[in-house]
Each structure stands twice: as structure tokens, then as C-alpha cells.
């Protein structure tokens, strides 16, 4: 490759496209712009009009403090060599070939856009939903606004005991006052305030020591205004293998978690209107049909833990089973990445095929020049927001190393204007970071007017209107 025109100087900056404006995208941008060795200019694209990915559409609407991480992201966005293009869907409005003509490198940070399946009978009965869509709905994701969840049901089951499952359970138990203290869109506050839900079951297939939720989230469950936590004594006690494992690990946080669960199990019912049943060592075997194609209950099999060859503890069915009533079921067994047109995908793990962030060719397993991945689409759907920072750093380190070696795309039109004229030709109406700041201010002002922290615009139309534009076309 020609070393003569190495990009990365003030006259000829390394032009990088970041696809996806979630934490991974912003951390990657920050790493790229902060180092001074190679001069980089960043264009970031997102299919939504707004940035921040799951921080806006995943993080629970009552966890406002966690969302302050966006302050750092907006500082990155103010960098003179950074541009944001919202409402640009990679695959529809922009292709891999477009990127190759406009940039030296692209990094895909598109997260995990769908849900994992359980693979049991009845999974698709009416009333059974992936937690992903409920979360997106109550968080005002524009693609999920029209989802309907039957909150007239009294008994709800949530499969899985990760932090997402805990979020869903807590949101279902919030009192009307607690709901108003969130930044949910109005439609969600209204629907949840009228909810008739009384019993919420959280179902863990392994024991307390293997529960994926973290301690602060568990602690919150015990402090809800409107719901008592109920845990069967027998399920709160550790089996011998878990006890051995806990001792061997010396993990004090884990010991604390197990202790908290035992404490909850010993609580007497407090007479609150709702009950949150946390269950362990049960796996759903089947969602039962009411006879009208709707879910009415769940058949659970009881499990014991067994040690696998590698020393991990895994659930094995005992043959005993029970049935619990559930008119509404949320499957919270993990997210899954979606493939992007023209980018090699690893079906087994549901991620872009990569090694340490360098995209790999599906056949040769060798790095593909110019293409990178970071965040959930690189390593799968696990880890908190901050985990994406070291993750993005690994990817950016590889990008810069390759750029220094001249291993980049050779774009034919690497000017900043080339991409805007491409969108003009294609009639792609995009939002800028300034547009987002305007929407942000409107949402905050609406919150202030209603005595709430923020009221989210719940649809694309509402956002365009807030910007004084209609249907994605500039108003005169």
C-alpha cells in the first residue's frame, strides 16, 4: 500500500466512520480524538434521530443518575473534528461500499438489537414478549411505541435473573408517584399507572450464588414502595456445591448478595399491594395456552446444580415440576446482535466476526482491511456501560496501528462534504448533534413543566415537529 499518502495529518486526517451512537461508539470516538499521534476526524451515524443507544433506550427510566454518563459523551460530540448524523440507517441509507469511498476506516458499534430465544413450546403465544421490546417501549424507543402489553393481567412472569429482568420487574412494581419521577414517555406512564399487576415472578434457573443481577439492583428490590419481596426459604439457601464455590472464590460481593437474598426470604409480608416473587432453581419448560392462543401459565421444572467438567455449576432438571399462573410473560434471557449488510457475521455468537475488534473474513479468518467493531456487537450482550470503554480502546489501538502501517481503505472522495452531498442526492434527512441538543432541551423543558425530570418524545414525528420539520423533510 502507498505509504506516500498516509492519512492522519492535519491536512489529510484519518477519516473514520462510526456506525452506532451508543456507549461503544462514543468511547471509540473519544479514544480516537483524544490521542494526538494520528489526526482523526470522526463521523458518527445512528439509525435513530437521537444518540446514546441503550443509555437512552435501555437504562431504566428510574435510574437517572446512570444516564449522566451522557455528559461525557456530549463533550466528545463538541470536538471540532466530530460530526453526528442521526436518522441514517446503515444498510438502508448507507452501505459498506459508500463507506469505502468516503472513509479510511469504519468501526461498527451497533449493539445487540434483538433477543435470544428460549426454545420452548408456547414461546410465541400471545402475551409472551421478549423483555427487549417492553424495555424499548417504556423507554420511548420510536420503533416500539405501538407495542401493546396486557397490563390488566394480575400475574406476570419474567424469565431470567439478570439486571434487565430486575429492571422489568421493578418497573412493573412502581407506584404512580415513582412512575412520575422517571423520564418515561407519557404513554408508558399512563399505561403503567393503570396496571392491575399484583404478582411478579422472577425466575432463575440456577441458585442465588449464580444470579446474574448485581447487588445495588437487588437492594432496590427490597425498598420498593408498593411491593413486598417474597423468596421461598428453601430456594434462598445455598446447595453444597454453591457454598463450596462461594468459599473458594473469596468474593465478598457475592457473599453479600447471597446474604441479602436470605434476609429477604426471612421477611414477613408487609401488606404492600404487590408481591415480587424471586424464584431459584426453576426453568420454564412450557408456556401454557389458555385455549385462545394466549399464555395463561408457565410449567416450571425444578433443577439441581451439577458441576461440569470445567468446574462451572450448571442446572439439571430433577423431574419435579409445578405450574404458576401468568397472563403476561417477559423473556429476559439475553440480547443478540444482528448482522449488517456486507459485514462478516459470526452466527454462533451473534456478533460481527472479529478478533480483538478487527473484523475477520468469514472464510479466511484474516482481518478485513478498514473494518472494526466495538461494544456489544463485538463481544456480545454483556457488561455495564463502562465496560465498553476498555473494549473500545482495544479496537481503537488496533485501528491506529493499522493506520500507521497504511492498512486502510483508499477513499476516492474523503472530503467532509462528500457524505452530506451523498445524503442530499439520496434525500436522506439527517439530524445533527445541534438538532439533538434542541430536542434534549425541549424534553427537559417539558419535564420541568410537568414536574418530572424529563418527558421523552416518543416518536420520530414528534421529534421532527420539535425541530420544526415535518416527516423528515425540512419545513419551509
Amino acid at each position: 500500500m502507498a505509504a506516500s499518502a498516509l492519512a492522519g495529518t492535519p491536512e489529510n486526517p484519518l477519516r473514520v466512520a462510526i456506525v452506532g451512537a451508543g456507549p461503544a461508539g462514543f468511547y471509540a470516538a473519544d479514544h480516537l480524538l483524544k490521542q494526538e499521534d494520528v489526526v482523526v476526524s470522526v463521523d458518527m451515524f445512528d439509525r435513530l434521530l437521537s444518540p446514546y443507544g441503550l443509555v437512552r433506550h435501555g437504562v431504566a427510566p428510574d435510574h437517572l443518575k446512570i444516564k449522566t454518563v451522557t455528559k461525557g459523551f456530549s463533550q466528545t460530540a463538541m470536538h471540532p473534528r466530530f460530526r453526528f448524523f442521526g436518522n441514517v440507517d446503515f444498510g438502508r441509507d448507507l452501505t459498506i461500499d459508500d463507506l469505502k469511498g468516503l472513509y479510511h476506516q469504519a468501526v461498527f458499534c451497533t449493539g445487540a438489537q434483538t433477543d435470544r430465544r428460549m426454545g420452548i413450546p408456547g414461546e410465541d403465544l400471545e402475551g409472551s414478549h421478549p423483555a427487549t421490546s417492553f424495555v424499548a417501549w417504556y423507554n420511548g424507543h420510536p420503533d416500539y411505541r405501538d407495542c401493546r402489553f396486557d397490563l390488566s393481567q394480575e400475574s406476570v412472569a419474567i424469565v431470567g435473573v439478570g439486571n434487565v429482568a430486575i429492571d422489568v420487574a421493578r418497573i412493573l412494581c412502581l407506584s404512580p408517584e415513582e412512575l412520575r419521577a422517571t423520564d418515561m414517555p407519557d404513554y408508558a406512564v399512563k399505561a403503567l399507572s393503570k396496571s392491575r399487576v399484583r404478582d411478579v415472578y422472577l425466575l432463575g434457573r440456577r441458585g442465588p450464588a449464580q444470579a446474574a443481577f448485581t447487588n445495588p439492583e437487588l437492594k432496590e428490590l427490597g425498598e420498593l414502595a408498593d411491593a413486598d419481596v417474597d423468596i421461598p426459604h428453601s430456594e434462598a439457601e445455598l446447595d453444597p456445591l454453591s457454598r463450596e464455590e462461594l468459599e473458594a472464590s473469596g468474593d465478598r460481593m457475592l457473599a453479600r448478595k447471597v446474604e441479602m437474598i436470605r434476609e429477604y426470604a426471612s421477611r414477613a409480608p408487609g401488606g404492600k399491594p404487590r408481591r415480587l416473587h424471586l424464584r431459584f432453581l426453576v426453568s420454564p419448560a412450557e408456556l401454557q395456552d389458555t385455549g385462545q392462543g394466549r399464555v395463561g401459565g408457565l410449567r416450571l421444572v425444578h433443577n439441581v446444580l451439577v458441576r461440569t467438567a470445567s468446574g462451572a455449576l450448571s442446572a439439571e432438571a430433577t423431574g419435579e415440576s409445578e405450574t404458576i399462573p401468568a397472563g403476561l410473560v417477559f423473556r429476559s434471557v439475553g440480547y443478540r446482535g444482528v448482522s449488517l449488510a456486507g459485514v462478516p457475521f459470526n452466527e454462533r455468537w451473534g456478533v460481527i466476526a472479529n478478533a480483538g475488534g478487527r473484523v475477520l473474513d468469514a472464510e479466511s479468518e484474516l482481518p478485513v482491511v478498514g473494518e472494526y467493531a466495538a461494544g456489544w456487537i463485538k463481544r456480545g450482550p454483556s457488561g455495564v456501560i463502562g465496560t465498553n470503554k476498555p473494549d473500545a480502546l482495544e479496537t481503537v489501538t488496533a485501528m491506529l496501528e493499522d493506520a500507521r502501517a497504511g492498512l486502510t481503505w483508499q477513499p476516492s472522495s474523503a472530503s467532509p462534504e462528500a457524505v452530506t452531498s451523498l445524503f442530499a442526492d439520496r434525500c436522506v434527512d439527517f439530524t445533527t448533534f445541534q438538532d439533538w441538543c434542541a430536542i434534549d432541551a425541549i424534553e427537559l423543558a417539558e419535564g420541568e413543566r410537568c414536574g418530572r425530570p424529563r418527558v421523552k418524545c416518543g416518536s420520530r414525528d414528534e421529534m421532527w415537529r420539535a425541530l420544526g420539520r415535518v416527516d423528515g423533510r425540512a419545513a419551509r
Binding site: K65, T68, K71, T308, A312, R348, A355, R379
Partner: protein, 142 residues
Amino acid sequence: MKLSAVLAAKGNRVFTIGPGSSIRDAIDTLAGNNIGALVVLGRAGEPVGLLSERDIIRAMASSPGAIQQTVADLMTSPVLTAAPDDDADSVLRTMTGRRFRHMPVVEGDSLVGMVTIGDLVKAQLTEFRGTVESLETRLLES
């Protein structure tokens, strides 16, 4: 964290060898790819053993003629394997406790990856750094 999360950003390639291959070939593959161990696959593609650089060095130290032997002669067998759904923490504990540096990962009967102690420690460190990063952000913003 599960092993699948560790494997996802490692690519699919696992270096393997047959039990009948020569130690010479094994050394070439190890050196050529800058790796520490090979998974030995049986006829049906199932892992039957693991051949590490240590296995080779140990054999050569006691008899330089070991280079004439086959993979089957020097490999560690049977081999302990893990599943993608296994918790990375537990597997790491097993590996440090039993002094294994490599753990092949199988799904059903097929080999789907290999994790090293280094991979697991790195993943743990990233997770740990992430938690610290998140806590710091919350503290600084409050």
C-alpha cells in the same frame, strides 16, 4: 460472564492437529502461529487431547529423540473441556487450581473455541475496569 463472551471477540479459528501427526509438524504449527497449544482431534472431530509447548519441552528434556514421536505419544489425554455457557470465573478457578493454561470449548460434540488463562484474566480485567469506570462516572456526576 460466560465463556461465550470471551470467545466472541476471538474469531472462530482454533489450531488443531491429528493424533498421528509428527511432533515436528506440531512444533511448526505452534511456532508458525505463535501459539502455546494445539487441540488434538479424533476421527469425528472430537477433542481427544491437548498438546502444549510444555508437553513437548518436558519430553525433549528427558529424551531429545522425542521429536521423532507422534502427537498421540506426548499429548495430555483425556482433555478437560468447557461449554460456552460455563461461567468464566469458575473455569478460571479450575484452570489456576489445576495449572491448565488452555481449555478447549465444545458445544455438543464439536469444538467451538479455546480459551487461555490469559483470555480469562483479560476479560475479567475489562469487566473490572468497566465497573470502576461506571462507578467513577456516577461519583463524579453526583
